[in-house]
Amino acid sequence: MLGYAGRILHVDLSSGKIWTEPLNEELAKKYIGGIGLGMRLLLDHSKPGVDPFDPENPLVLATGPLSGSMVPTGGNGHAFVSKSPQTFAMGEAKSHGHFGTAMKRAGYDAIIFYGKSEKPVYLWVDDDAVQIMDAKHLWGKSTFETEDAIRNELKDYYIRVASIGPAGEKLVRIACIMNDRTRAAGRCGMGAVMGSKNLKAIAIRGSKDVKVANQERLLELVKIQHERMKGPAARKYRTLGTPENVLVLQKLGAMPTNNFTRATFDGADKISGEYLNERFVAKIIGCSSCAMRCEHIAVVPEGPYKGTTTRIEYEPLWAIGPNCGVGNLDAILKGMDLSNYYGVDAISIGGIVGFAMDLYEHGLIGKEELGGLELNFGNHEAMIEMIKRISLREGFADVLAEGVKLAAEKIGKDAPNYAVHIKGVEMTGYDIRGLKTAALGYAVSFRGADHNRHGAYGPDVGGKVNRFKAEKGRGKLVRETEDLYAIIDSLIVCKFSRGTYFEGYKDLAALYNAVTGIEMTPEELQKAGERINNLGRLFNIREGLTRKDDTMPWKVMNVPIPDEGVAKGSFVSQEDLDLLLDDYYEVRGWTKDGVPTVEKLSEIGMEDLVYLVKEKTEKPKRKPKEE
């Protein structure tokens, strides 16, 4: 079992006890690594119904079997998994860079954090020597400063650090965990869980060998991947990068604007990938082992934000830009940089600011609450100010720091109608009112609103289906891409490389086999993907989620797209949603309530988790309790 480090590190922050245990080979084969392994470890080491900020909620950090190897994009990934303080269900977020490489080299497939430290600490992993270090002097520092300070005090520049900023410390529910300065494990509030444990950072120096089972075969495969990555399959990421989406989605009437009030943005030309690359992008860099390189580093050339240097991607650009009505690229880049600095998810922060602007324009919150701030859509200075206030829980922003769902409940009246989220996680930059395959993918995603659990916008945007129609068959499309994405996130390779696996599971299995020496067929790998999706669902069922949680934001289901153009009038009705869910549950082999059946679980080798659904599937007719 090469590729894997073969070891799990356990850290009890309450008692200070640290121990390791071997990685169970059966578990590795079944759940691969990354999010799959991490989710299974979370399920096995947690009790149902625990509050995400309770010391009893563990935080799992996992690498994949390919981490540390030369597989392009595969050598560097890591995943955080915990019960999410946004969804109160399965939370996971991945990141790339160099941190995952270091963790594998230090000799760990996973690290599980239990309990809560009495005072701020960070974990220092120096290969086999693991220490809990005082972090009093780091508390309050930004992620950038924390990373630099730790490298300085441990006196090794090649030490890799994953840390939280002030937002994580203050339990801002959208807090992320940053590594290698520009990389974020962004979604689901993993940084807030870390903050709840008083864990400021994880610093790793890895100097052990990473060995693979079949070197020659691996090099052949890597060569093939290198060639493909130079070709059309990776063109988008190598040239304009994900901001290319701006004009694509604009044309489709699928770019949510002003908190999903509209689906096109008037200033799109001035925030497009084309505009950005011509004027702002100074350099494109890559993560460890990557042969694609996608990380566009933008520098603001002039004006009040001059010198701001940050990584750009479509999603945060959309969230902080069009979703807040902001078309000033300088300010958008500043907002993205500040999100990384304070340690908040740059997608969710845009979702929250857009939500607050919507409430302000509809008179649900006023100037008084905002200390005189005029929070209209498009006010970029107010947007920047709100990012700061939410990240630091200042004034009224303390309520907003709970995320749009919980904030809307606290604000009351019809505020929930403006809260654009699924399962408590803020939406991402696709207007799913007119992308109905994607809509299903978003609705059933086990980590809440997300385009990265399924990629089901593919058939919609690519014109392979009628995107305005809900019909049978979409369930199969979503299921297929969900299973593949689960494997991509478990191996871990980068989503941006997905187009370079021309033969899908066959290519991925070949890489897995060459690295680990474990013979796994493409079919078995697909089954592992299915298993991981069932696992996400099982965890959520354990935590009390039901079919009614597989739903859409109020606006998506009640306000048709108003913009003139192809998408005008489109929205997802309850009827659409029910049809899509029924179809999806059926192809998943789940009950009408979205519960995996005993037969399905037995078929995919999850007999040991049947106990989680036994009662629910035996009485499928029983109505869920009214709340």
Binding site: R181, H226, I285
Partner: protein, 175 residues
């Protein structure tokens, strides 16, 4: 026995990195350690990547200095420089890992093998038929296997282009 030919330093080729092209991906480190030690390990790589800032990336290997400060610094005469290729050759029987050579090298191009405790320096993959493998595998073609003369020639071409562009612009002519 035929005399060893005079050193022809002008013909020595080394691994050079173009920082404008380097993305900091460390593919060179991966292939180097795999070639030399059958494992992926940054510490065992003879070329190392340095990212000081997202905009500042470079990989560094032996610069084939002559005279080589590392050779001069070695108190045990464990290092010698090949006259044919400029490669610093290490006599493992003499090297005791004291690392004076590491301190003498201005470029950080020497590393101490973590297990053998002997120093390691780029040998230009002399045993590989296609030359240095990092150069072959660099996905950005940022690495080059070149003589110093070709390096200066490249720099001359680049600067001439830049000067030319500026003077064109100054004259109001679009290139």
């Amino acid at each position: 026995m035929a005399a060893v030919p005079k050193a022809e330093t002008a013909k020595w080729k080394m691994v050079s990195c173009d920082p404008d092209k380097c993305t900091g991906c460390a593919t060179c480190e991966y292939i180097c350690s795999l070639t030399k030690d059958n494992a992926f390990s940054a510490q065992k790589s003879r070329i190392r990547t340095m990212r000081l800032h997202p905009l500042i990336n470079i990989s560094i290997a032996c610069r084939l200095c002559t005279p080589a400060p590392c050779v001069t610094a070695c108190p045990r005469e464990a290092l010698t420089q090949s006259e044919q290729t400029g490669v610093i050759m290490i006599d493992d029987d003499k090297c005791d890992g004291c690392s004076w050579c590491i301190e003498a090298c201005d470029y950080g191009a020497i590393t101490l093998h973590p297990e053998l405790k002997k120093v390691r320096i780029c040998d230009l993959c002399e045993k590989e038929k296609d030359g240095p493998r990092c150069v072959k595998w660099c996905p950005e073609e940022a690495l080059d296997f070149v003589t110093k003369d070709i390096l200066s020639q490249k720099a001359r071409i680049a600067v001439t282009k830049k000067l030319f562009k500026e003077s064109m612009e100054a004259a109001g002519i679009k290139a």
